[in-house]
Symmetry: C3
Subunit: 258 residues, 3 copies
Amino acid sequence: MNYNLPFIPERPAKPRVSGITMVMDKGLSITEAENLVNVSGEYIDLLKLGFGTSLVTPNIKEKIKLYQKAGLKPYLGGTLFEIFIIRGLFDEFIKFVDSLGLNLVEVSDGSMELDNDTKCEYISKLSKKFTVISEVGSKKADVHIPDDEWVAMMKNELQAGSWKVIAEARESGNVGIYKSDHSANTALIDDIIRNVKIDNVLWEAPIKSQQVWFIKQLGANVNLGNIAPSEVIPLETLRLGLRGDTFFTFLPENLKQK
Amino acid sequence: MNYNLPFIPERPAKPRVSGITMVMDKGLSITEAENLVNVSGEYIDLLKLGFGTSLVTPNIKEKIKLYQKAGLKPYLGGTLFEIFIIRGLFDEFIKFVDSLGLNLVEVSDGSMELDNDTKCEYISKLSKKFTVISEVGSKKADVHIPDDEWVAMMKNELQAGSWKVIAEARESGNVGIYKSDHSANTALIDDIIRNVKIDNVLWEAPIKSQQVWFIKQLGANVNLGNIAPSEVIPLETLRLGLRGDTFFTFLPENLKQK
Amino acid sequence: MNYNLPFIPERPAKPRVSGITMVMDKGLSITEAENLVNVSGEYIDLLKLGFGTSLVTPNIKEKIKLYQKAGLKPYLGGTLFEIFIIRGLFDEFIKFVDSLGLNLVEVSDGSMELDNDTKCEYISKLSKKFTVISEVGSKKADVHIPDDEWVAMMKNELQAGSWKVIAEARESGNVGIYKSDHSANTALIDDIIRNVKIDNVLWEAPIKSQQVWFIKQLGANVNLGNIAPSEVIPLETLRLGLRGDTFFTFLPENLKQK
């Protein structure tokens, strides 16, 4: 902070286990990646190379090294895992991850169907060698997963070796833990909170109103993901009560108006 | 202009008192700030470091100097003023502004309530030392301020020492002078226009349709604010009749079709 | 591709006659233009300097050279053609294009009315000296052009010398070939497909759902335009089946689930 103010929530230093911010890179150039780490590198924990962008982005290894050197953990978006798996290329996936020098992998079943036991086997195998995060929820609006299944899958995947489980929302923020109008699916989220250790969950929250909702519900150090590069600094102000939306959230009662 | 065309409205040179464009910086890196001033510096008058971003942006003094050197007037968004005031830290606010080398300050009550007399005292005190702009209107959609109060507050604040008064719209453009569907609250805006000198008002207009509406109502040199960095050049084309939306606006009658 | 996967559609190399991506530059700085060509230059064929931005962007010649050197074909958005034409300055338009060193021009009547014969004369004259693309459709939501007229105009303009005809959608993607809710106007599009050689049509598709719709209808190598600079890499993944939305589109039947 450039000035010490009272009543600002404390944020843990890196490497963080809570208060994590995961950013989605949809194809930044090397210079744009440099801009990102220069201005907000200290606030970013995880850096997702979204869906299959890593296959078509030039200089991908150079970009990955740049992120790692700046203390970010880059990884391939789960859709790329599924792109290899649907083609029966699990070993090739591992080779590709290795060739890029990545230490973190994501396992998901948002685009294809994967029964949870098989998914957990992948998680288990990969967790011998990499840090694994796994994502629960479908990208398709018409796939309905009952709330108790969400909870059961999250527990299974953490047990199988996932470091964190991600609650799916897409880049557009209108499926999974959100309704089609982008508002929170509170019944599902409550169920997850009651049953899964909260530090182990990373909530995709691409839209400001969603970020505000989670910060008000679960505090400054909630784990949030699918943040656009240009929204990292704004998110950090939300976490610290430095924006209109969370202006009163962290103030003591006697300073709250009305 | 890279080519001299007839029927293009004249734009005053800097420092402008009308035709002002205020840009919101939500956390640009130094290089991104350089890009901004290189391509559109001559079209930007005021540069707002949005809400509390100046507290969490690294190299903030360097960025401020870069903007000032390029002829822009950077200042802290009004929410930061309120963040200090709600904590009872008015003197500390002045010290912080001084330490950053800023010459312009914003006074607002968009997040907290401040009776207008107290607000005008702050404006009066600050105007001894800085150029002051003050913002009227709440960020909250459920706070209704009657039109005659808007007008009275704007007049009071100009009297107290504000150089310009800003009509609040948020970054999202759906409160204050706009309805929840982003369209103009014409009754309120008409009341303001009839009662306040128009050059003294700066209209927040983050959305293109709002910019178009004001340019058609009040001309090429209306003061507009909360413009995104990437929208400065497009706004300039709207002001000059160089985009579809204002294609006919500045043409003589004999060139207008139908 | 950074890894060779099976069942990835083939993309033609530049200079392409199909599978074209047209990007809209609304006022990038030189450095931002460099970022763009560095990361996605090989995927971009046409680079539109949107509406009248080329008149107010500094260093426009330098930017044009940068794009040309990187193998992109920059040109002035059609609105600028109309801005000259409505003022009776056709010869001056040609001089301006020449002075910028451009080889491609766009002829359109999206903002002003131009009877199709006159438009075709402009196309014919310009095609003696430049490659011409022409745009069909009005930017105004309340102008209804019957489907058979769309088709007739496209045929006329190709005959008159247009290299490609563009189907208008605006930057906002809610007019012409789209309905006001951004969904495809399928009756019109079907009519065009049935009657015009598909490689000769470039569909404006600024919104992801529109890009997905065209790729599913017309394949990986459909010509798409009005793509935002930051969406070129994501669009390339859609074309290649490397994103959730087109995950199954190019897979053989035996790999498709359900």
